[in-house]
């Protein structure tokens, strides 16, 4: 089963990474959600043993590892919280830039740089010339 779990978690991680790298911001959030699922699956796959649910009265046979379940639960909640925050952030960015595609957000950066360059650049150049 090691291989099966590792494969499944890794494929999810890879798909998440692919989505995260898309130009479309919405898919970025989808990607983060998928990566989060991958992490939770990994936590559970890291269980030291699988078996029945560890609830008293204890059933016969092996019990599932409760500690990794507890970790997975915590990770699920944190993943949800962060995904929701990221999603709303994307929404705000999309509204603010009237686009949910990255190029324009990056474009804004570049144009700001250009403005700074324009206002400060010349003085800076002169300063450096003097320093030489």
């Amino acid at each position: 089963m090691n291989l099966v779990f590792a494969l499944a978690a890794a494929i999810l991680f890879g798909i998440g990474a692919y989505l995260v790298l898309q130009r479309d911001l919405v898919r970025l959030v989808l990607g983060v959600a998928v990566i989060s699922q991958s992490a939770v699956l990994t936590l559970l796959a890291a269980s030291l043993r699988l078996g029945a649910a560890p609830i008293y009265p204890l059933p016969e046979g092996t019990l599932s590892d409760p500690l990794s379940q507890a970790m997975a639960l915590t990770a699920i909640v944190i993943g949800m919280a962060v995904t929701a925050l990221l999603l709303v952030l994307v929404f705000r960015v999309a509204v603010a830039f009237r686009s949910d595609e990255l190029e324009e957000v990056a474009g804004e950066e570049v144009s700001l740089d250009a403005r700074l360059e324009e206002t400060e650049g010349e003085a800076h150049e002169r300063e450096e010339a003097a320093a030489r």
Binding site: A39, E108, E109
Partner: protein, 458 residues
Amino acid sequence: MTALSIALLIPWAAGVALLAVDGRRAWVPWISVGALAATLITLGAVAAQVLASGPVTMTTGNWPVGVGITLRADALGVTFALLSVAMLTAAVVHEAFDGVAEREFPALVLLLAAGLEGAFLTGDIFNFYVFFELALAASYVLALHGPGPRVLGAGLVFTAVNVVGTFVFLLSVAGVYRVTATLDMARIGERMAVADPNAAILIAVGFFVAFSVKLGLFPFHFWLPTVYTAARPAVAAILSGSVANIGAYGLLRFGAGLLPRELELAAGALIVLGGASILYGGVLAISRRSAGEMLAYSAIGQVGYVLVAIGIGGPVGFAAAIAYAIVNAANKTMLFLTTSQRGVVVGGLFALGALSIAGIPPAAGFVGKLEVFRAVVGDPVVAGVLLLGSLLSLVYAFEVYQVEHWRPAADATAVRVSWRAWVVPVALGGVILALGVWPEPLLALSDAAARVLPGANP
């Protein structure tokens, strides 16, 4: 023991209580300040105890180790906790004087403080992860505090990159649990030492990536300049002076503390990456026009010194990394708080900060540089890179200083500000100067903190 719990509880409870309050009211930020000050005092008491008689340890609910969560205040953790909370306090006092612009700010900084403190004072890796997430979640929201839509784009970059980083971290936590069957750091340290080297090194890479993202090391740094320049000065100060400490601490705790064998194996790669960071940050900072941008790239360069020192390791290397991290946090906090101001006092502070960045006495930066030199002295190539790095820092820091504070044009448009705007930076400047003039506390503390790590006691 109780002091440790209380130090954790104060900012947490106060932060939660402020959640439902509008932080823009004048009295609210002062509650944060009060809570943070109380936290600092309690932490100070813990630190005194730790330095005098060794680590303070307890497990939640008094359950046996492994069942309960181990909380463990040792010299390393306490040092970073004190540093981060102190810098955070400085930023909040500054903001409180200035008038808080965002309603969540006072609550968020307290929760951030709780998250940082917890991360530094826990002895359990999963508990570290959740506190790490708390600190990060608070900083995601804080990073959105700033003017214009630009801050949203920057915040998105910051959040997305760091979220991916923490999932990588979580994968490594799962791996550690699988391999060692425990979450307690002390036991992990013992068991990782005999673990399969392949599993251990791949797990170590996961941790390294996560913390490098947080530190802003080249090439994991691309999110950093945008975020530091778009955010409010106080927020940039918090991100670079407090939150980034998790990166340095994490590399020390997880690398030198839990995975010393892997750290040794990766030493070459760390030194190369650190050197690359120093040069990259330094070179890019040279052509930057404004203090904020310069500081952002400078931050990338400065953490390179920390990484190089960790890569060299041993008692000297770790102590150097800690000393450098402390000095760098103080520098960055002070300088970011002054970025949008002009005037005689602020000019003087900027000059002091520039001296400190460049490692010139009497500013404290020279102590950090002395320590790092001590670590790298056996390797002429690395020493050469560091020499070049300090020349670059001299160039970029003073170019911006002259452009912003000496040029008459800059003076003419000067926004003369009231004492409220510079009282905190002046206090930080006093600390930087004091540590430069009397470096013993800094050296002794970083020495004590480094001795906690197994690699420092050969």
